[in-house]
Each structure stands twice: as structure tokens, then as C-alpha cells.
Symmetry: C2
Subunit: 341 residues, 2 copies
Amino acid sequence: MNNYFLYHNQFNLESGQSLDGFKITYTIAGNPFAKKTIWVCHALSGDANPLEWWAGLFSDSSLFDLSEYKVVCANTLGSCYGSTGPADLDEPLTFPTLSIRDMVRAHQLLAEYLNISAVELLIGPSQGGQQALEWSIQDPDFAKQLILVATNAVHSPYAIAFNESQRMALRADLSFGLKTGGREGLRAARAIAMLSYRSYQDFYLKQKDEERSAQNHRASSYVAYQGEKFADRFNPHAYYYLSKAMDSQDVSRGRGSLEDVLSSVKSKTLVIGVDSDALFPIQEQEFLANHIPNACLGVIRSAYGHDAFLIEYEQLNDLIKDFLYNEFKNNKPTTFKTKTN
Amino acid sequence: MNNYFLYHNQFNLESGQSLDGFKITYTIAGNPFAKKTIWVCHALSGDANPLEWWAGLFSDSSLFDLSEYKVVCANTLGSCYGSTGPADLDEPLTFPTLSIRDMVRAHQLLAEYLNISAVELLIGPSQGGQQALEWSIQDPDFAKQLILVATNAVHSPYAIAFNESQRMALRADLSFGLKTGGREGLRAARAIAMLSYRSYQDFYLKQKDEERSAQNHRASSYVAYQGEKFADRFNPHAYYYLSKAMDSQDVSRGRGSLEDVLSSVKSKTLVIGVDSDALFPIQEQEFLANHIPNACLGVIRSAYGHDAFLIEYEQLNDLIKDFLYNEFKNNKPTTFKTKTN
């Protein structure tokens, strides 16, 4: 069930602009009276219901005994799933620019409102991982344990270019910027995104033409269908702003060297990467695991690419179980660190 | 200097549609009276002037003594650089769909017109390589030697999806389909294409932000600039049709097994791949070298990705020199074949 947190004061953004308050939609699943909290940060197009979009991790039969935890997840500022964002406005593009830091600060105000000053586990994939990392840097005592999935400390030039090409496709749609406009551009943007979420190998295995045709190709229908499906569920302007926020990820901005900043994370940390991830490649998670003091790396072996975090549940559960309950030993990487706490 | 070949008869296309004749723009460089011919097939957005776009291969100091060869290159059917295509029409999208086979057959008619029944060397990169391979299958006696650069026998589902996402960006521009329309969509399409032409590593090395900004990123400016530059020189509708033609590449369509079809190539063949190519990955060139009877594989080591064929001239020249004048030995791959002719 969705809950709403209304913040009524001026909220200053990293851009120098501000919002006159905001609304954040959130859920509390599991046992709302439990003392221990798992806080889940969702990915770019996700929502506040991890029991739906991450059911492979958070189900009754999952590795977490949901009677012992409250599971909190909040929709990010800027999204179209119940939190304040550009989709609310008649002129969406007048909404101020958002950064990952803004999103995290809004959720920190929610945590304060919920009287949660520390959590047992903070976990997030992709853009959600960017937030979880940023949060753990802003407040090193917040998360006892931290799990960063297919994410990074600094968004790469290649990933920024992927996002920019999607924003160019959105802007090429002349109806973009009008409250109900931008649908065609969003379809194209999602098709582009699919290329970064999956892999050559995944397309080869699943979208190969069965009939040899010069003109009609399964891979074309597939990305067109994905674009259509996405345009039915997401708002073009929210997508634009969230992709800009993703590009803002650089936990070292204004804080000194990246290595020093990462060394301030106190949580016991598991960094999970996917060996075929083209958007957040495994070297980015190796870097995190190498520079967060009390971290180890788990690698998901998969042909799916970035999207493996939504698919390879057996590996994901095994890695997390191993991290939470055993001495971490699976997928022992060269970058494996001895736990120092 | 551009020459024009006008074909005045009905030209039947693979789609079942036809053209009432066509124009092909071509150049003859080097020594027009030479007996030996090098025929160059250009890539998707190339033109009939390889001494310009492939100057690193065809210059006065290049490995080819241009006084001994005539170098022929023709603009492909469908392009906007002097050959018949959708850009000529007031309603561009009424132009019939083209395939690689159609492009090759049009150039075969030009070769016939030029009285060239066989060439010393047929060479092409990317879409040009698709044509060179197709030509060598349709007419195994045409090319004594064949050099296929960063190309394939069957366009992959991943590459088709890359093209489809670009076509979706073009179609998202509501002015696409009007004679002078589609410019914004083409900018976005080119930005997407840049992601497939380059690599994560290349973007990291060249487009990394020097100043840490939450909002302005060099990688964004780079792809926007590339889109702008391309929209100044290319036609959106030509781009759309040429990308569809690229997707049609499957030399086995209607001809039996791919392996059998490739085994019909008689030319002494050098297949060149780039180890970081995300669009035509090296396994596609390995496949070609494994199944063309008299072929060997040369690998360009580069962080550039697909575009390395336009950049890594030292390696390209070395590989070709070795192939033409010595027993091929550079970059000896596991797939290296003993020459059997």
C-alpha cells in the first residue's frame, strides 16, 4: 500500500534552484513493527513496490524473513510513480534539474519523518545503487550493511552518451515538452536503452530471425514492442529528468579525491556486478569493491547484461545469502578484500 | 571527379518492387588506363571518393602504387551522394525498400558498363564489406583478392536493434517523411550510432569530464555535436533506407546453409576485425575467416571500436601489406587457414 510523505518547506536543489516542498510516495512492506529495517532504492524506471519489481529477492520464500524486517522503499523525486516531478506540471520542462544527491536528500527527510536513523541493510540496483552509495557517503552511520548492485561511483562518459542519445530522441519528438506529449520519443528512447540493458549475446540467443527475411526482423519488432510497452507505463518528461540525474552521479564532486570519498563508507558492503554489463561494466564495481574499506565483490555470470539484476535471481540470492550469513566466498574475485571489521 | 552511370531499364528489386532505371555516381582514381582494378565499396554514410574518406589507405604514399591501378568506387543505390535514392523524391518514403543485394546488382551493371569483368582486389569496410562479400558470392570469379573489413555475413539481432532504435528516433521526428524534414531525428540517430561505432573505453579516454559538473557533460556535448555535424551532411531518408539495407544482410537467404554459401567464395581473402568492435564483433569476422575457403583473419587491436577501420591506418596497412605481398603472418589468429590455392 502506498503512503505519502509531504514536505512543506523549501527544498534547495544542487542546481541552485529549489522546490516549494514535495511529495514522496513510499511503501513499508514486511513487518511494519519490526525493529530492523531494509531500505530499498529503486532503479530509474522503478517504483516504491520492491515486492513487485524485485520479487525474486523479496518474496515469502526469499532469503529475508519478512516477519523480522520492515522493508521501506520510496519513489524517487522526479519520478512519475507518485512523487513530485515534471510530469505533474502543465509545462514539464520548467521543472528544475535534479541530481542523485537531491533524490537522496529527499529520502533522508522521509527517513527522518519515519524516525529511522539507521537501517540494517541499504540496497539498490543501477540508479538505486547510485543513491545507496551516495547516502552511505553523506551519512556513513546510516546503513549497517550496504549492497550495491550493477552501479557506480561516477557515471561513465559512455553511459552519459547513451542517456544523451535518448534525450536527443525525446527532443526530436516535437510534442515533447507538452504535458501529454513525447510518447514517440519515449518509445525510441526505450529502444535505445534496451541496447544498453541487454547484450549482443542476449539478442543473438533470443531475437534471431527464424525466417530469413530481407525486411522483417524479430530484433526490430522486439525493441519496437519494448518501446511501446514502456510508453504505456512511463512519462517522457520524468524519464528525461531521471536520466539527467543519473548522469550527475559523481560521489566525489566537491569532496576531494574519489578514492578518499569511497574510503569514508563505513558499512559492511557487498558490491555485485554482471560480467556482461555494457552500461555499468564490471570494472566499475571492481573499483567500488577496491576502494570501499569493508567491501567484497560478487559477480553474476550472465549473458543478459545490465538487466541480469532483474533476472538472475538464483545467483543474486546466493551472493547476498553468502554475504549476510556466511563468510563471503562465492565468486571470489581478485579484488576480494578481507573483512576488516 | 565524379562520373555518372545512368541505367535506363527497369531494375527489379529483391522486395518485388522495381525502379524505372537509376543513376549511380562513381569515381575512377589512380591510373584510369591501368589494367589492374581495385574496387572499393564504401560504408553506410560514405561516398564515391575513397581517396578522401580512406586516405590512410589510398594516398600517394600508401601501400598501393596508384600509377599501377585504377581505383573504382561507386556511391550505393539509395545514398544521397549522387546515386538514386529516397532523398530525390518529394515523398521520400514512397521509395522502394533496398537490400544489400540490390546495391550490389546495381554496381554490377556499372562494372559491366565500365567493361570490368574482374578485379585484382575488391575491398570494403562495414556495409561496404557486406557488399563486397555478397558480390564475391554472386560472382566468385569477380575478385582475385577480397578484403573484408569489420563486416559480416549476417547482420546480427543486436546490430539490427541498434538500427531499429535509430529508425524509431527518426520516426519520432514528425517532420520525417517530408522532403526537407527529419533533421532532429537524424541528429539523434547519429548520436545512437556513435555508441555502436565507438566503445566504453574510447569514450572514457576522450570524453571524460575535466570539470566535475552535475549537469554539463562532455560526452553529451560530443554526441550532440556529432549529430549536428552529420545532419549537415546527410539526408535523413537516405539514412533510413541504407540502415534497412544493412539489416537485410544475410548472404545465405534463399541459398542454403551459411557455411555452404561462404565456401563458394573463390577469392584469396583477408578478413579484418577490430577487437573492440561492439557492432560487428570479432567473432563475426572469425566466422567469415573460418568458412571462406582461402581466408585468413587479421585483428586490429584498438580501443576505438568499429570506427578503428577509419583510424588505425598503421595496423590496417600492415595487415593488408602482409596479405598482399608476404605470406600472411601478422596477428596470426587461431582461425588462421593455410592457403589452399
